[in-house]
């Protein structure tokens, strides 16, 4: 479990605080999503948890271990990170790329052992890209490359995983596949997972718990179907939305027309069956 | 009345005769420079060792810092520090030169960029790089003309020629020792044909001599005064076929050449012992016979050139110069040319 308590961060003494007292909890075996618009501070928060930036004050602990004071190597054994943006410098093979996830476990003057290689290979199998083992990872599709990064994080054998906007560069099909796969892994391996995302639908569909962040503060945290309301989304994103349920899943759609509100309501009626406004009675959250 | 007019005319013609003439000189960089003579203010970045011989200190506006450290100059003009320096090693100061407002700057041809820079600033420059004895004489003559010191230069040249002639004369002399050593040489040569034997008897066998410069395998080649010196003292330069001033050769090549005598440039960073003790050179005849000599670190661009030649000649053929006392000869030249005595610690 990851506990984050009252994190403050600003880039310098004179600039305004990007994070103003963020607190949240991420349970083991659950996918906790940090949701918010661009500039709300979720990337900054992410970097603080990942250990790239140091918060001005506040605590971040993993199972009662204060991770702010750890070395990179110690932290990497506990937390594995899947980055958003990756510019491949050289055409490593998929196996070699995933093998790098073992860096925290390999001695300074050593090369990966057979055990390391096995961990890499099974991670590759787990995410389902074994057929690409020796292919150069610059020559595969965006979605496949994202899976390589996920496999790399898996090979790290860490109890917690962080995903930084894993679907922002992917097409629609891959978005779904990747998120599905991530969920599978988290549940199966029982890791603590935090994911940042800006698409509220994805957050709704795949998360166990959502932390909504606006302007450096947590607005609310909880199961998505409980806390994500049209009012909340309007408050955070400044957009009118309608939440409906299709096939048992919550779906958020924005109001397209911005003319008269009469038209808007009518549209809402047509689209909206099983309206979310009745949600208190019916729990339609993900189980 | 007429006398006055006549006197006036004589006066005019007289001054005209002694008036300015223009010297056109094509220097080492193939630039034709026109100089109004006599010059009044000259800056010597190079060729400064001629200054005590020129004896025209009032025309010297400035010198390179190296000049101040030159032992001959210090002895000839103890108050050399009163002559403005145009920079020490770190800083040839073109501005300083400009401040002195010289009519002429004498510098070397190895830095053409600095010359064009100076010309842009309005300084008239002459670039020199004497690559032979005759060229050296030519530069001396030019300087003599420019500074109205022709007689001094002629006198210096005469003294230098005396020593050169002595060397030429002795070298071409066949002594009994010579004949014996030619025979001994030809005995030592492993492959002998009849024609070989004939030619070694018929003419003096020239000995192979190398002149090494900054690095032990940087040998003087066909161009330049070093080659002239080797020929002058009766040697043959195995690198004389290479049309460069000097070049790097492989150690194997030096072993192939197998020189009998090796001379080392006076300013080189290594000594004769360094080569004699060096394992890689041990099969070379000059090293086996320990005939490796480092020259005094005097410039070859000055009146001491014949002394360098004499030094080399004595080392190369000691038997032909056994009666010549180097210090004596040096002293005579120093007195006649520089007007100072020779300090015998300067060269062995």
């Amino acid at each position: 479990m990851i506990t984050i308590n009252n994190i403050h961060f600003s880039h310098s003494a004179t600039s305004p605080a990007v994070l103003q007292g963020i607190s949240l909890q991420a349970e083991q075996g659950h996918l906790t999503t940090i949701l918010g618009p661009n500039g709300c501070g979720k990337s900054t928060l992410f970097k603080c948890i990942a250990g790239l930036w140091k918060p001005d004050f506040g605590e971040i602990s993993f199972n009662d271990i204060n991770i702010l004071t750890l070395t990179h190597q110690q932290r990497a054994k506990l937390i594995a990170v899947v980055p958003q943006d990756h510019e491949p410098p050289f055409p490593y093979s998929v196996l070699d790329a995933v093998l790098m996830g073992r860096a925290a476990h390999v001695g300074m003057f050593a090369t990966p052992s057979r055990r390391d290689r096995q961990a890499a290979e099974s991670a590759i199998e787990e995410v389902g890209i074994s057929h690409l083992l020796h292919k150069s990872y610059t020559k595969i599709s965006g979605g496949e490359r994202q899976m390589v990064l996920v496999a790399r994080a898996l090979a790290q054998d860490a109890r917690a995983m962080l995903f930084d906007e894993p679907t922002s560069h992917l097409d629609f099909r891959n978005q779904v596949l990747v998120l599905r796969k991530i969920r599978q892994i988290i549940v199966r391996r029982s890791v603590t997972a935090i994911l940042t995302i800006h698409d509220p639908n994805a957050a709704m569909l795949f998360s166990d718990s959502v932390v909504v962040v606006k302007e450096g503060r947590v607005v609310v945290q909880g199961p998505p179907c409980e806390i994500i309301t049209e009012e909340l989304l309007h408050e955070v994103y400044g957009i009118e939305v309608v939440i409906g349920k299709i096939n048992g899943a919550m779906v958020i759609t924005p109001h397209i027309s911005s003319e008269s509100s009469d038209n808007g309501e009518e549209d809402a009626k047509i689209v909206n069956f099983d309206s979310h406004k009745n949600h208190r009675k019916r729990r339609l959250c993900l189980t | 009345m007429y006398q006055v007019i006549l006197l006036f005319f004589i006066f005019i013609t007289a001054t005209a005769a002694h008036g300015e003439t223009v010297v056109k000189y094509t220097d080492r960089l193939n630039r034709t420079v026109e100089i109004n003579t006599p010059v009044q203010r000259v800056v010597f970045i190079q060729m400064y060792e001629l200054l005590p011989a020129l004896d025209a200190w009032e025309k010297v506006a400035g010198v390179a810092e190296y000049a101040r450290r030159n032992e001959v100059i210090r002895a000839a003009k103890p108050d050399i520090d009163t002559v403005p320096s145009v920079g020490n090693g770190w800083n040839i100061n073109v501005e300083a030169i400009m401040k002195l407002e010289p009519d002429l700057v004498i510098t070397w041809a190895a830095a053409p960029k600095s010359i064009s820079f100076m010309e842009e600033k309005g300084l008239k420059t002459v670039a020199v790089y004497p690559e032979s004895i005759s060229e050296l004489y030519e530069v001396m003559q030019l300087l003599g003309r420019l500074l109205s010191s022709e007689e001094n230069m002629e006198a210096a040249k005469a003294e230098m020629e005396k020593i050169f002639s002595l060397i030429r004369d002795r070298v071409s002399r066949r002594t009994n020792h010579d004949r014996a050593s030619i025979q001994a040489d030809s005995d030592r040569v492993s492959i002998q044909t009849d024609s070989d034997r004939a030619s070694t008897r018929a003419e003096e066998k020239k000995r192979k001599m190398l002149y090494l410069t900054g690095q032990p395998n940087n040998v003087s080649c066909a161009l330049g005064v070093n080659n002239d010196l080797l020929n002058l003292i009766g040697g043959v330069n195995p690198a004389g076929g290479i049309q460069e001033r000097s070049t790097l050769v492989s150690l194997e090549q030096i072993v192939i050449w197998n020189p009998e005598v090796i001379f080392i440039w006076g300013n080189a960073g290594y000594t004769a012992e360094d080569l004699i003790d060096n394992m890689q050179w041990r099969h070379i005849r000059a090293i086996r016979e320990k005939r490796v000599y480092k020259l005094p670190d005097w410039t070859t661009w000055g009146p001491r050139l014949p002394l360098i030649a004499l030094y080399m000649a004595k080392k190369a053929s000691p038997e032909k110069f056994s009666d010549i006392d180097f210090s004596e000869v040096a002293d005579r030249l120093y007195q006649k040319v520089f007007h100072i005595p020779y300090q015998s610690e300067e060269a062995p």
Binding site: L52, P83, H86, M108 | G87, E252
Partner: protein, 336 residues
């Protein structure tokens, strides 16, 4: 035995083949039989039959040290090249990028030009290390040294020392100037056993950390942030790589002058052949560097009576081959 393993084995052993061939080549004609006998003489005293012949001395005192030194310098240059290419995530980096060659040139120039009492090798070595130190310190900000500032400060330091060297060249005696120029152009012509025992051993020791830590170059090449996330102490590891390479290259430059192209080209070519995994790339680059350097030096010393600067040979032979491979490989050859 896969095709890949065969290629790797060939590259790894290439220096041995080329070195052996090179021993038979040289200005002084030594018969092949004599070459072999001379070599064997050292390994098993061949009775007292081998007198101190000039041929034996040519082989053992002149050619063998020269070939060995060329090999070691080749190892240093390409080993450092591949390391820095990994550290800076850029296949077009050469070992001199941090200002090293400019510092060495300056050290050489002032030693030959003004302080003959200071040995050229020492001066060049000290100034090469000094220039990298300077570059490192300029790039340091808040205790951290990142890639881009480091490269920029390398460029600045290079420019600075190059300017100073030009001034020295401008002022110095023309005879000395020629020595400076020759020295800088690079040569193995004076290689002897003493040089090898000092700098050769030094280079091999300095490259040990690079060799042992070579897998970590894979991770470092992922970028600073990612490498940290993967658990690498980026600052420490990068410092070790830069220091080791700098010492190795400074030693190489101090004995052989500045030889270009090898450190840039050889690792790049080897990467095109064997792939970017540094576990194989590093040792194979070193081997290929040794082989190439021996080859270039053999050409430099045997084509004409006088020595051609080996840097010219490396440029002439390397550049066209490099261009050909790049055209053939297309985009991939850039390592993307």
């Amino acid at each position: 035995m896969t095709r890949k393993t065969v290629i790797h084995a060939l590259v790894l052993t290439s220096p041995l083949f080329i070195a052996s061939a090179s021993l038979f080549i040289g200005a002084y004609g030594v018969s092949p039989l004599m070459v072999v006998r001379s070599l064997l003489y050292e390994l098993l005293p061949y009775g007292s039959a081998m007198a101190d012949l000039p041929e034996k001395s040519i082989i053992l005192d002149i050619r063998v040290p020269r070939v060995l030194l060329a090999a070691i310098v080749g190892v240093a240059l390409s080993g450092s090249g591949v390391t820095l290419q990994g550290v800076f995530r850029n296949p077009l980096v050469d070992p001199f990028i941090l200002g090293l060659s400019a510092g060495a040139a300056f050290g050489c120039a002032i030693s030959i030009g003004f302080f003959p009492a200071l040995p050229v090798q020492l001066s060049a070595f000290l100034f090469s290390i000094g220039s990298v130190l300077l570059a490192y310190n300029i790039a340091r900000s808040q205790g951290e040294v990142s890639r881009l500032p480091l490269i920029l400060s390398g460029v600045i330091i290079s420019a600075f020392f190059t300017a100073l060297t030009s001034i020295v060249k401008f002022l110095v005696d023309p005879h000395k100037l020629q020595n400076i120029v020759f020295w800088l152009m690079g040569s193995f012509s004076l290689a002897d056993w003493h040089t090898i025992s000092v700098s050769g051993v030094g280079i091999l020791i300095a490259l040990c950390p690079v060799y042992l830590m070579r897998w970590r170059l894979n991770v470092l090449s992922m970028g600073e942030d990612e490498a940290k996330l993967l658990g690498i102490n980026v600052m420490r590891d990068r410092l070790i790589f830069v220091v080791s390479s700098t010492i190795a290259v400074s030693l190489a430059v101090s004995v052989s002058g500045i030889i270009g192209w090898v450190g840039l080209m050889v690792p790049h070519l080897v990467r095109m052949i064997t792939g970017p995994d540094h576990r194989t790339l590093v040792p194979l680059s070193m081997a290929a560097g040794a082989a190439f350097m021996i080859f270039a030096d053999t050409v430099a010393r045997s084509i004409t009576t006088y020595e051609i600067p080996v840097g010219i040979i490396t440029a002439i032979s390397g550049a066209p081959f490099f261009i050909y491979l790049m055209k053939k490989g297309g985009k991939e050859s850039w390592g993307r």
